[in-house]
């Protein structure tokens, strides 16, 4: 259980069983990520897929990297993208659950005031946020959620998605602008105008 992920993965090229350490270190994080994004049952299946893909591709991992986490996130994000129907179901279920909790909190008045407000607030906002997340282009949704939900750095997101850091920045700012417009019910015209003026990139 010692050594960087890079060292463990290098060792697993000779001794495949060593790869189990990578699962021990990151399995729980990746399961949480997947459970936030797709149906619970699907998240469990995809967890296995992530690590099987990672195992097969381990020779491509740059062994001087300390952490395999961004790389695993990249594999998982890719699988989520292929299960967009499950992702949409997950979002709808969360919208319903949060709306229920919000009304229950108001009715029962059990929660400490601050928490009740937060829950109610999130409950009111969530359907709009759900729609906005669902309406984002894939590339922007991935970057935005890796940043806001998974709290990865720009560099980690760049590693995960295999794009330059500059691309992460531009996708994030595009996604933020679009999210702000979508959640505030603003027309998209200005976004598209600026987008096309920017030459399509």
């Amino acid at each position: 259980m010692e050594g960087s992920d890079g060292a463990v993965i290098a060792e697993s090229l000779e001794t495949p069983g060593a790869f189990g350490v990578i699962f021990d270190r990151h399995g729980s994080t990746l399961l949480r990520f997947l459970a936030r994004r797709v149906d619970p049952a699907e998240a469990e299946d995809l967890l296995g897929e992530v690590f099987r893909i990672a195992f097969e591709r381990r020779s491509a991992f740059e062994r001087d990297r300390d952490s395999a986490r961004p790389w695993l996130y990249g594999i998982a994000a890719n699988l989520v993208a292929k299960h967009y129907r499950s992702e949409a179901r997950r979002l709808r279920a969360m919208a319903r659950a949060s709306a229920l909790r919000a009304s229950a909190a108001r009715l029962l008045d059990e929660d400490p005031a601050e928490r009740a407000v937060a829950v109610a607030d999130a409950g009111a906002l969530w359907p709009r946020v759900v729609d906005a997340i669902g309406a984002l282009p894939e590339a922007e949704r991935q970057v935005l959620l890796l940043f806001a939900w998974e709290e990865l750095s720009y560099e980690e997101i760049a590693q995960a998605l295999g794009v330059p850091v500059g691309t992460v920045r531009s996708r994030l700012s595009r996604g933020r602008a679009r999210l702000a417009e979508l959640t505030h019910d603003a027309p998209l015209a200005s976004y598209h105008a600026s987008y096309h003026a920017g030459g399509g990139r």
């Binding site: 459970a35 893909i53 097969e56 020779s59 890719n78 937060a118 906002l125 806001a148």
Partner: protein, 211 residues
Amino acid sequence: MTDDLEHLRRSRPDRLLPDDPPDPEVLAREKARLMAAIAEPGDTARGSAARGSAARGSAGERGTGERGGAVHRRTPSIYPRLAYRDEVAALEFLTRAFGLVERRESRMEHPDGMLAWLELGDGVVMIGRAGEERHGLHSPLDAGASTAMVNAYVHDIDEHYRRAEAEGARIVTPLEDMFWGDRRYEALDLEGHRWHFAERMPGTRPRPPSR
């Protein structure tokens, strides 16, 4: 930290529903499966891969028996390679505007060009840089014409059309219902490769076979 992402942060599912911890049994079970797959790359891995991708199409399986081969990935027996002057921009555009999904783990990056594999349903398209020395493949920008069309079926053609148009695809044939039961449109990508997107509409039957 208050900023425009605060709402998004607070909307993270497990903050709304904190009673959603990772299940240690799930972790133990999936680790056991992983270790079994590692120990027996032949059977176990493919068995679980079939389980994981049961919903996918029936494309032929390649790599059977290859050591460390494509256990979970099915590559169709036939798939096109498209050439671009700027294959990185093409990758970004095709995923954003047309909803293709990259097999991220397959990407090969070289200083003189990147190769990427993109999926849509059970189909795969390979993209790379154009050039005489690259299989003699040219971008329509250089050839002055497109000489092939990629046909793809999608799940929600109206939404697909809306997004493609909003993201800057050049629509060359508008969305229309065809007599054989497809609803379809055609669009050009950044460099002029032609794409045909369609959805089979319910309630249509294949024509009876001609005698």
